[in-house]
Symmetry: C2
Subunit: 355 residues, 2 copies
DNA sequence: GGCTGCTATGTTTACGTAAACATTTGATGG
DNA sequence: CCATCAAATGTTTACGTAAACATAGCAGCC
C-alpha cells in the first residue's frame, strides 16, 4: 500500500466521521427493517401522518427506540427545501438591547420549532456586514433578522438568496423592509414631557453616537417635543452609549449652572453622567434631574435609582419572529414598520427644579 | 377538480416553497450545463480542489456568478456527514458572563468556518434542559457547548447523539467532561488578599445563589483564603446575582459596624450593596471597602468606581471553540479543566480601613 | 358476485452534493 | 510512432428523507 492510498483512506474516513470506529446513526431504512415495514411507513410515523394502524405505529416506535433513531435533519432539509432555522445578524452583543432582543427571538423561534443561528459582525463597516451576509448565503437559514442600522445593510442585501426573508430591527427603512422597533419617539416624548411637567424650563440631551438611527430618532424626538412645548433646545452633547462617554459629557454639563434636567439616550450614559455630576458636587435630583432610556436591570440600583424609559425587548423579539414567519409562509414582500410601545418608569433621579 | 385535490395541491406547493412562483436556486447541475462541464467539475471548483485548468475554473466561476449559485448546505451536510455548526446551550442571556462568552464563541467559531446555533433554556430545571437537549438531537450540530451548571446536564446528556462532542463552561465536572472556565479561585484569592493587604482584619462576603457552581467556588475560595491568612470568616450573605438582591443584603451589612470590607460575588450585587451602604450613610471606600467580580463595562462608572476581578470571557469562548473542534477532529473523549486567569482591576471602591 | 371506493402499506423517484471510479487527452521517452 | 503515464474531466453512485404514485385488501352496495 503506497502513501497516496493511505492519504486517500484517511481523508475518506475523516469525511465520513467514522475515524474513531463510531457507529453511524440509524436511518429510516434500519428502523423499517427492524419493524418489518417499508421506510415510507417509518417516515409517516416520524411525521405524525394519519393513515397508520395503531399496531404498526407501535412497532415502528419500538424499533426507533431500540435503534436510537433520530431523523437526519440534513436529509430532511434537503428534501423539504427548508431548514427551520432563522439567522440573526447583529453587532457586538455588548448592548443590552441587542442581547435582550436576541434572547426573545431565540425563545420565540424555539416555541415555533425554529432554531436560531447567530452571525456576529465584529466591526460595523459595510465590508464586515457584507462578509456576514456572504457567510449567510451558504448557511442553512430560511430567514434573517437583522439587528442593526439598515444603511449598512443596503449594499449587502442584494447578495442574499432570493427566497430568504428579512426583518430588520432598529431602522426606519419601513418602506423597503419589514421593520420592528421600539417606539423611540414615543418613549422620548414621555421622558421629555415628564421633565417639563415637573417644571423644568428646558431639557438638555446627551445623545448617542452619530451613526445610530436609534440615537438619531431619540435626538429628533427630543427636539420636536421641546419645540412643541415652545422651548429652545440647549446645545446637544454626544456619547457613544458607554458609561465612560456619559461621564465625559457629564463633566461639561456639570459646569453649566442653567442645566437642571438631562435626558440621556441610554441608561449607561445616564450612569456616567450621574457620576460626573456627583463628582462636581451637583446633587441628583435636587439640583439636576436625570432620565435614561432602556431600563436595564441595574437602573433601579443606581445612585440615585434612575428614572428611565422602559423598552419591551421581549416583545420586539417576539414580533420579529412572528413577522418573519408570516413573510415566509405568505411568501409576500410585506413592508412597513411595527412600533413597540414604551413605558416611563419613575424612580428617584427626577424631581422638580431647584429654587 | 374536487376539494381533496385542491388541498393536496396546496400542500405540495407549500412544501416545495414555490408558492409565490419563486425561482428555485441554481444547483450544480445548472452551473455545469451553462459552463459546459460536468457537475463534478463544478464541485471541484466549489471546494477548491486542484486538478482543474485555470480556464475551466474561470468558466465555472463565471457561470456560478451568472446564475447566482450558492452551494446547498443541506445537501452538502448530508453528503459530508457534518454540518459545520456548533450548538450553544445556555440559560438566560441576562448575565454578562454568558453573553460575553457566547459572543466570543460565535466569533471564534465563525473564524473557523463554523456557525453557532443558539438554544436558550428558559428555566434552569432538569426538565427544561432535557427539552433543550431533545430539540438538539434533531438539530444540525456537530458539537455542543454548554454554558451552565453541569449537574443539570447529567441526566440529560445521555440522550445526546453519540457523535456530538460536548464542552462545558462554568462547572467543576472536569473528570467527566471537557471544561473551560474562569479561574474563580484565583480571582477570589486576589480580591480577598487585596483587602487583607490593605489592612482589613477580615473580609465579608456577599455570595451568589446556592445552585451556582461559580458562586460556590467563589465562596469556597473566600473561606480558604481567609483561613490561610488565619482570619475567621464572618457570616455569609447571599444574593441572586441581581443588583436588587445586593441592595437587600447591603442593608443588613450596613448595620454591622465591624464590617469594613466586602467581597461581592459579582459587580451587579456590588452595585446594589454600595447603594445600600450609601443610603445608610456608610461611605465607600472610607468606611467600607467593596470589591466585585466580572469587571462589567459599567463598573468603572459606579459611585465610586468599583475595584473588581476582571474576567476574560473572550478567552473562555475562544478556548471552548478550540477544545470542541479539537475533540471533533481527534474524536477522542478528552477530559479535564482549562482555567482562564483573571486580573484584579483596582479602582476607588477599596482603601485602607478606618481609624 | 362483481364493482366501487376507501384505507393501509409498499415502490419509485428526486432533492443537491461529492466520493469513487472511469475515461479522455496530451506529453514524454524509447 | 506507439506505449506509458499523468493530468483533466466525465459518469455513477450513495447520503437519508418524503412526495408521488402504485397496489393490496376489505367493506358496502346494487
Amino acid at each position: 500500500m503506497d502513501t497516496a492510498e493511505e492519504v486517500a483512506d484517511a481523508r475518506g474516513a475523516g469525511a465520513r466521521r467514522r475515524r474513531g470506529g463510531r457507529v453511524p446513526t440509524a436511518s429510516m431504512a434500519d428502523v423499517a427493517r427492524l419493524a418489518g415495514v417499508s421506510s415510507q411507513t417509518v417516515s409517516r410515523v416520524s411525521n405524525g401522518y394519519a393513515g397508520v394502524t395503531e399496531e404498526t405505529r407501535h412497532q415502528v416506535l419500538a424499533a426507533m427506540k431500540e435503534l436510537g433513531y433520530r431523523p437526519n435533519s440534513a436529509a430532511r432539509a434537503l428534501k423539504r427545501g427548508e431548514f427551520r432555522t432563522i439567522g440573526v445578524i447583529t453587532f457586538s452583543l455588548a448592548t443590552t438591547g441587542n442581547v435582550r432582543t436576541l434572547e426573545a427571538i431565540a425563545t420565540s423561534a424555539a416555541s415555533e420549532g425554529y432554531a436560531v443561528t447567530l452571525l456576529p459582525v465584529a466591526v460595523p463597516t459595510q465590508d464586515e456586514v457584507r462578509g456576514a451576509f456572504s457567510r449567510l448565503e451558504e448557511l442553512a437559514v430560511d430567514a434573517v433578522i437583522v439587528i442593526m442600522e439598515v444603511h449598512l445593510l443596503d449594499a449587502a442585501s442584494l447578495r442574499l438568496p432570493p427566497h430568504v426573508q428579512v426583518v430588520v430591527v432598529d431602522s426606519d427603512a419601513g418602506d423597503h423592509y419589514t421593520v420592528v422597533d421600539t417606539d423611540q419617539a414615543g418613549g422620548t416624548r414621555a421622558a421629555v414631557r415628564h421633565l417639563l411637567d415637573l417644571g423644568h424650563d428646558t431639557v438638555w440631551h446627551l445623545g448617542g453616537p452619530e451613526g445610530s438611527f436609534a440615537a438619531q430618532r431619540r435626538t429628533d424626538a427630543w427636539r420636536r417635543t421641546l419645540a412643541e412645548a415652545g422651548r429652545t433646545p440647549p446645545p446637544l452633547s454626544r456619547g457613544d452609549w458607554s458609561a465612560e462617554s456619559g461621564y465625559r459629557a457629564g463633566l461639561e454639563l456639570a459646569a453649566r449652572k442653567e442645566c437642571t434636567a438631562v435626558f440621556a439616550a441610554n441608561d449607561q450614559m445616564a450612569l456616567g453622567l450621574m457620576r460626573a455630576l456627583h463628582e462636581r458636587g451637583r446633587r441628583v435630583p435636587d439640583e439636576v434631574s436625570v432620565i435614561g432610556f432602556d431600563d436595564i436591570p441595574e437602573a433601579g440600583s443606581f445612585l440615585p435609582p434612575l428614572t428611565t424609559v422602559h423598552q419591551d425587548f421581549a416583545e420586539v423579539g417576539r414580533l420579529c419572529v412572528e413577522a418573519v414567519l408570516r413573510k415566509m409562509r405568505q411568501d409576500g414582500p410585506e413592508r412597513g414598520t411595527t412600533l413597540v410601545p414604551t413605558r416611563l418608569v419613575t424612580r428617584s433621579s427626577t424631581a422638580v427644579p431647584p429654587e
